[in-house]
Subunit: 139 residues, 2 copies
Amino acid sequence: MHILVHMTETREHALTSEQLATFIHTNPVVVRRTIAGLRDAGIVTSARGHGGGWQLGRAPEKISLAEISAALGETLLPFSNEPESPGCLVEQAVIAALDDFRIEAERLLAEKLSRITLADLAADFRRRYELIGVTSHAV
Amino acid sequence: MHILVHMTETREHALTSEQLATFIHTNPVVVRRTIAGLRDAGIVTSARGHGGGWQLGRAPEKISLAEISAALGETLLPFSNEPESPGCLVEQAVIAALDDFRIEAERLLAEKLSRITLADLAADFRRRYELIGVTSHAV
DNA sequence: GTTTCATGTAACTTACTTAGTTACGAATCT
DNA sequence: AGATTCGTAACTAAGTAAGTTACATGAAAC
């Protein structure tokens, strides 16, 4: 998200993984590796060579957090429905009973995340930015 | 959950961590360590010495998944709101914007989990158990 | 009261996952 | 051609969780 807001703020030109890595205090390769999924989903585009780098693939109003989450392969809930003891009825019952919950919960979370766009986050940032001033903008 | 359903099915007597560990193919110490939180929350009770072991602390109808989740120290969502670059306005904006989502999502999940009780899971198990028969009940 | 059984917990080992790093090929612009 | 930047493989380091061993503590049985 941090990186994406930066990319929203500088839509006119591409940012290199080197620059993006600096923003979040990490390594260019980690950045490339992490946002590769975003590229595959069309959320960002990457260009090689001189003047290359990363840019938003479409308007930030059209990029929802649900898409970002999915593109990064994130799970919405911190538990899975993979059986660990196949054939155990207790486990099957637990998984089945929780599955209704899981499905509805994931639907709800996805629905909520799909209503928040990158533009919303960027607007929120801009508000704070103009309030506090450029000098405080560390990183 | 697996362990708790077993304990629901054998409310009359205590189960040792040894037995519980067998159910989920793990180690007695791991079991004790894991469900220590459940004991502290009163969801289960433990007794030392001869004939000791673990039992439900109260009726399974009065034990909700929300309580279990909280007692185990589980998080309901797979991301945190801890700032990693304190002072960065971008990060602050992202966290603030997501916080509304997080708070409502957690409230929703907790609400849903509080409506599912251990008795519900056990009843589901019992249905399957009677349907398929005792011979299939591996572990 | 001693023996047996079971939890409570510390300490250590092992396995796994993720982040970080180095290296280099491929693509692109000047 | 040379400089730049992504793409990706391969390796290292760090952090986390599970598994294991060991032993003290407490409780029941005899």
